[in-house]
Amino acid sequence: MSTYLMRRLMYMILILLGASLLIFLLYAMMPGDFVTNNFKLPAERKAELREIYGLNKPVLERYMNWMNNAFHGNFGFSLSQQKPVLTLFNDYIWNSFLLAITSTFFTWLLAVVIGVVAAYKQYSWFDTMVMIFIFAAMSIPSFFIGLFLIKIMAVDLKWLPPGGMLVTGSNATGMEYIKEVVHHMFLPVVVMTLLGVGSLTRYFRSNMLDVIRQDFIRTARAKGMKERVVLYRHALRNAMLPAITLIGFELPGLFGGSLIIEKIFNWPGIGQLYMQSFTVRDYPLLMGFTMFIAILTVIGTLISDILYHVADPRVKL
């Protein structure tokens, strides 16, 4: 186990080093930079600024600099916001996390309930409806459903705000503040839940189908246990257990925000920050964000593998 973990950690570090190089090269290839894209500056001032920001140095030297600072916990300085990248992440990440954790909660809740009931009533009309709903949810273009709901709910019916996190110029505090935020996050949470619920419902449905056919369920019924006990104590527990391995894969989504949803709903999260920085070519921020997601992905996979072993000790690490 511990040798496995050591090997695994070494490999993670190697993969992340490779990823950092690839990410750096990709962004270095991108046209324009923060200074040249600014049309207001005169040529001499541009040259001066590029010198200050180190944008005129060779690519390899810039990469070495970036990595050296990264190892010292410094992911650079955002050029457009004039703040350290990590400070900015800390400012925006919690807004993303709020959306993600709420929608993840509803996604899992709905998926477990619908998946289990559909499996229990396999081939019923409810099950068929669920299957169609699953396919629909898996086929939604995220940006389109967002725009569509804004158009219906915010523009036409005026029930909900079209975007943002607070009313412009709002200085609400306490309960008022919470109410306002909940009001604004309703639509994005609905969309994110819809986008995730399809595949997860399907996962729980097929897990439950596997478990219901096992011998120990027949034994439980033969012992004369109540159907409710059989279902919730014996079947559901075993159907839920493998799902803990999915927790690791949720990690990048929980903290990495959603580029598309945050952009469509103008939500002040880290994904929206990325989209804004993309147009002005704020490389430290862009690279920091991409690297951040890569790190979360690698850690998430490790957590999943370990939980896989926890859920089923027969699986050797």
């Binding site: 046209p31 273009p141 995220s142 158009k151 990048p252 992905t297």
Partner: protein, 308 residues
């Protein structure tokens, strides 16, 4: 003499053909019984026919700009209204469908070819080849695909790729992020096939690498590949629409469903001319549903073990 050999050949043929086609025939028979999957297939065929032949019957297919009829709401003359330049939205929607469907299918084909060849080679040769291929795949799977696609999209504009070639590059971009997952899947399947008895028999018979790989291993993953490719067309259509929506994929004047929804980025069009951007969104949604339902039906009959 000739009658005997002729008879032999006959029995050989009649004996061989049902065995060879039985898996496919059985699968097809069971697929036909799945009403939902057949409805999905029917819709896909309908969408293809309408997109590829529909514009031939449209009086507005030349995309003539006509400022006199700009931004008209749907009417009997223009079923889905007209756009900012007075072009018929329905005709453009069908022309866009051609591009979106072609990009979806082409990028699927490219990534399936790259992914299955690399995955098969990695599993067959093991050792250093396997290491190199799978480490590259791991690397690409670690980096989030949307930022990679955005960067590549921005590069296209920098390199001044002519608008009419952009769709081909978009296909390549989508395959670039699509192949690692496929390679991983094919590799794991091939590794299990490698240990089967019939592969040991092939080794004992002294078959060469190419025959083992192409006659004995790859045919056994074809059912899985068909299922995965069908399902990945839907994913590719969705990715293309996201890219084109953000102006980093296929660009106007070449219409795609994604860049038609771009109209929604304009506040007036978004609020007052919904016929410009709702139909392409519905087209993407329904087409991808149909593909996913059909793909799932295929999975049921071709590869039931992979249901999860």
């Amino acid at each position: 003499m000739s009658s005997i050999t002729g008879g032999l050949a006959d029995t050989k043929q009649t004996a061989a053909s049902p065995i060879r086609s039985s898996l496919w025939r059985q699968a097809f028979r069971r697929l036909r019984k799945n009403k939902l999957a057949m409805a999905g297939l029917a819709f896909i065929v309908f969408m293809f026919l309408v997109c590829f032949f529909g514009p031939l019957f449209s009086p507005y297919a030349n995309n003539k700009i006509n400022p006199a009829i700009m931004n008209q709401a749907p009417s009997f003359k223009h079923w889905l209204g007209t756009d900012l330049l007075g072009r018929d939205v329905l005709t453009r929607l069908l022309q866009a469908g051609r591009i979106s469907l072609t990009v979806g299918i082409a990028s699927m084909i490219i990534s399936v070819i790259i992914g299955s060849i690399l995955g098969a080679v990695a599993a067959y040769y093991r050792g250093i080849v396997d290491q190199i291929i799978m480490r590259i795949a791991d690397l690409l799977l670690t980096i989030p695909s949307l930022p990679i696609l955005f960067i590549l999209g921005a590069l296209l504009s920098e390199w001044k790729v002519p608008v009419e070639y952009r769709m081909y590059i978009v296909m390549l971009m989508l395959s670039f992020v699509g192949w690692p997952g496929l390679a991983r899947l094919v590799r794991s399947q091939m590794l299990t096939i490698r240990e089967r008895e019939y592969m040991q028999a092939a080794i004992v018979l002294g078959l060469n690498d190419r025959r083992k790989l192409f006659n004995h291993m790859i045919p056994n993953i074809v059912p899985l590949l068909i299922v995965i490719s069908t399902l990945s067309i839907g994913g590719a259509i969705l990715s293309e629409s996201v890219l084109s929506f953000f102006g980093l994929g296929v660009m106007p004047p070449t219409p795609t469903w994604g860049n038609m929804i771009d109209a929604a980025n304009n506040l007036i069009d978004f609020e007052q001319h919904p016929w410009l951007w709702i139909p392409p969104g519905v087209a993407i949604f329904t087409t991808v549903i149909a593909i996913n339902i059909f793909g799932d039906g295929l999975r049921d009959v071709l590869d039931p073990k992979q249901k999860k």
